[in-house]
């Protein structure tokens, strides 16, 4: 592993100091994450209300969710947060190549999550648990609220998957930038800011998993 290079942030012309620029970037990402939290909160709230009004139907539907895939995915995402933290730590030390490796590992774990999620969707499709497909009769026809729960499950996990996909895309783009020397000397805070986003997607899943899977077992 190469030794530490200089670490820093290049000052954009409209800021007075680097400190101000870093403060603005961190605050900006937190403000964005706040909006994301409220976005998902509306969705989870809707799912919880359904759980309260139709407990049996929700449980019947949740029995078809692949609990163990969800559990493994939780571990995978927490692992990706760990590698992300590693990348941030190395970026602070100026170890650019090591940081890139940890970023690639993070992207790989994110992709593994999506692959497992894809397999879970495929199994759902196989079990006729995709009620929004008109050409595929739904398995639990006698329980309309269960159909709604399954649909909400797709909206919530789909939206989360979209965020993860965006995260992986940004991560890979940034890995490309960071493969050239001098990245950390000019843009160290990009990795810190992105780290906030990545941890947040992880956190959303950590709320989604109990709300959709654990609570209804």
């Amino acid at each position: 592993m190469s030794g530490g290079t200089s670490v820093g942030v290049r000052l954009a012309s409209h800021f007075a100091t680097v400190e101000q620029q870093k403060h603005a970037a961190v605050l900006g990402m937190w403000a964005w994450l706040l909006t994301e939290l409220l976005l998902f909160a509306g969705l989870f709230l809707t799912a919880l209300i359904l759980r309260l009004t139709h407990p049996e139907a929700v449980q019947a539907a949740a029995r078809h969710l692949k609990f163990w895939i969800g559990a493994v995915n939780t571990v995978v995402l927490i692992g990706s947060s760990l590698t992300m933290s590693g990348a941030i730590q190395l970026s602070r030390l100026g170890w650019q190549r090591g940081m890139v490796r940890f970023m690639l590992a993070t992207a790989a774990l994110g992709t593994l999550f999506l692959a497992l999620k894809g397999y879970e969707y495929y199994a759902d499709y196989h079990e006729h648990m995709m009620p929004f497909l008109s050409d595929r009769p739904y398995a639990l026809t006698d329980s309309p609220p269960s159909r709604l729960f399954v649909n909400l499950y797709y909206v919530a996990t789909g939206l989360h998957g979209l965020h993860l996909l965006t995260g992986i895309a940004i991560l890979l783009a940034m890995t490309r930038q960071a493969s050239r020397p001098g990245f950390l000397a000019a843009h160290q805070n990009r990795i810190e800011i992105f780290g906030l986003y990545w941890h947040f997607i992880d956190l959303i899943w950590i709320v989604a998993f109990p709300t959709l899977y654990v609570l209804n077992r």
Binding site: S13, H14, F15, Q20, H23, A24, L27, G28, A31, W32, L34, T35, E36, L37, L38, L39, F40, A41, G42, L43, T46, I49, L50, T53, H54, A57, P131, F132, P144, P145, R147, L148, N151, L152, V155, L159
Partner: protein, 558 residues
């Protein structure tokens, strides 16, 4: 500062602000001339003008559809348009005016242009994000216009279920996609403002030296951040419901149509304050400048902005008094809605106290500001009627509600928008408009507005429901009066579009501070240099340091 003495105004004024244009680089309008330099600009001032042009176009669409609605209501038998056409007209009017004019109107134009100038910054914190927000806005606008061109939407601007999900045969999904996307432009603008106000203030520009305009935009931005995501998820669910029948708003699947109303109003009531608070900021700048008097009760006006932005999150249920929600909830929402009157009144009293014994100049911006104060009081007081459970039963979904919110939205926000436009037009363009024309249209708009909307209070009280174009013949006189008023209003809107644009090329050159106003934006040239401040801006020790200062009883604020 010897506050307490009333000093003679004109003696302290310095009309000879040096013209900082001389000997320096070109201003932001003349820095570059290519089309590319406009559409890929990251200058907050140019982005503000991009927004101004776009929302003016939407205002025209919204106003024309409103005119057609008023045309249809001249006759009681609904013979002017078919029912479907009428429904589409008022829907397009509502959707365009609320989402594509009122919500972005003041923040995205004046806020964008002025916040960095007022706090002494070179730009917003995220200039590229600022430009992106305009493109996001235009993308949302594109989808909504597509739905209009394909044949329109007939659900009303509220998109209530089950009409929007199961019964409407119009282009609901493109319109919903458009409104969802536009929400992201609001979020990005709000995020940019919050971060900018927190981190980009010039040295010495403490929170309590900020102009109230900045305070109200801060409060607005918090609502952008906290409320908009909720409408986004509500609209995403609505799109999924309409496109895939997921069942979330359908009782047959355990869903609940009223849930949509909860999610919708959780955003859309705070959105009223997204539309109102920036206008309050504009009025708080205009009134002290044209009274040449320090804003009365600065801290109270600032706190009232934050108070309104807070209380507004807990009153959404007052839109749902008759939909079967529990009586207890209705009582709670009613009481909380009354509480909104307190910070609103604080603002009105403080503006009035600022005018009191000021050295008044009734120039165009001040005429709009005074119109605003009067109409906002009427709109606000009728809001108390509507918050009263018993009266609400009587006037729910009648023209009384229509009149109430037009008093707030047009009498309030649009007048503040026009007042601000005239106040800062010299700063935006470097040119003065013809004052006489400004005063004439301000008076025309005030008269036209009241003739249009006051009869609607009476119509609503007598029982004319909103969104119908067939009505009993005895309502015809008041409806004709209202429609006649709207033609006066239209003339009042057309005049500024002509003389303001005329002024860009043929107006007299504006000095840096044509109104002898306080605030950092008046210390730079008109139009401002591309990078705002040529020298380090000096934050004033006291905000609104006008010659006349009234005694405020109690302890003194520094």
């Amino acid at each position: 500062m010897t506050s307490g003495t009333i000093t003679d105004g004109p003696a302290l004024r310095d009309p000879h602000t040096p013209d900082s244009r001389i000997g320096h680089g070109p201003d932001y309008l003349h820095a570059e001339h290519t089309l590319r330099s406009w559409f890929f600009t990251t200058d907050h001032k140019r982005i503000a003008l991009l927004y101004l042009a776009s929302i003016t176009a939407f205002f025209v669409i919204g106003a024309v559809t409103a005119g057609l609605v008023r045309l249809a209501l001249v006759v009681p038998d609904g013979q002017v348009f078919t029912n479907d056409t009428y429904n589409k007209l008022f829907t397009i009017h509502g959707v365009v005016m609320v989402w594509f004019f009122l919500i972005p109107s003041i923040p995205a134009t004046f806020g964008n242009f002025l916040i960095p100038l007022m706090i002494g910054a070179r730009d917003l914190a995220f200039p590229k994000l600022n430009l992106a927000s305009w493109y996001v806005f235009m993308t949302g606008a594109f989808f909504t216009l597509v739905s209009v061109v394909l044949g329109g939407v007939d659900t009303g601007w509220t998109f209530y279920t089950p009409l929007s999900t199961a019964f409407s045969n119009t282009w609901v999904v493109p319109a919903l996609i458009g409104v969802t996307i536009v929400g992201f432009s609001s979020i990005l603008t709000g995020l940019n403002f919050v971060v900018t106000i927190h981190t980009m203030r010039a040295p010495g520009m403490t929170w309590f030296r900020l102009p109230i305009f900045v305070w109200t935009h801060y409060a607005t931005s918090l609502i952008f951040l906290l409320a908009t995501p909720v409408i986004t998820v509500a609209l995403v669910l609505l799109i999924a419901e309409r496109a895939f029948h997921i069942g979330v708003f359908d009782p047959a699947y355990g869903g609940d149509p009223v849930l949509f109303q909860h999610l919708f109003w959780f955003y859309s009531h705070p959105a009223v304050y997204i539309m109102v608070l920036p206008g309050m900021g504009v009025i708080s700048e205009i009134v002290p400048a044209f009274a040449q008097k320090k804003l009365f009760g600065y801290r109270f006006v600032a706190y009232a902005a934050i108070g309104l932005a807070s209380v507004t999150f807990f009153v959404w249920g007052h839109h749902m008094f008759v939909n079967g929600q529990s009586d207890l909830a209705s009582v709670a929402f009613s009481v909380l809605s009354f509480a909104v009157a307190v910070p609103s009144a604080v603002k009105v009293y403080n503006w009035t106290a600022t005018i009191h014994k000021g050295s008044l100049k009734l120039d165009t911006p001040m005429l709009y500001a005074m119109g605003y104060i009067g109409l906002f009081v009427l709109g606000g007081l009728t809001g108390l009627y509507l918050a009263t459970l018993a009266i609400n039963q009587h006037v729910h979904a009648t023209y009384f509600v229509v009149a109430h919110f037009h008093y707030i939205m047009v009498g309030g926000t649009v007048l503040a928008f026009l007042g601000g436009l005239h106040f800062w037009w010299p700063k935006f363009t470097g040119r003065m408009y013809i004052e006489a024309w400004g005063r004439i249209s301000a008076v025309l708009i005030f008269i036209g507005f009241n003739v249009t909307f006051f009869p609607q209070f009476i119509l609503g009280y007598l029982g004319m429901p909103r969104r119908y174009h067939v009505y009993p013949a005895e309502f015809q006189f008041l409806n004709i009066l209202s429609s006649a008023g709207s033609t006066i209003l239209a003339v009042g809107y057309i005049f500024p579009m002509i003389y303001l644009v005329y002024a860009i090329w043929f107006g007299k050159r504006a000095p840096a501070n044509p109104w002898d106003a306080r605030g950092l934006e008046w210390t730079v040239a008109s139009p401002p240099p591309a990078h705002n401040f040529l020298t380090e801006p000096q934050a004033p020790k006291v905000p609104y340091d006008y010659p006349i200062q009234a005694r405020e009883t109690g302890r003194q604020h520094s």
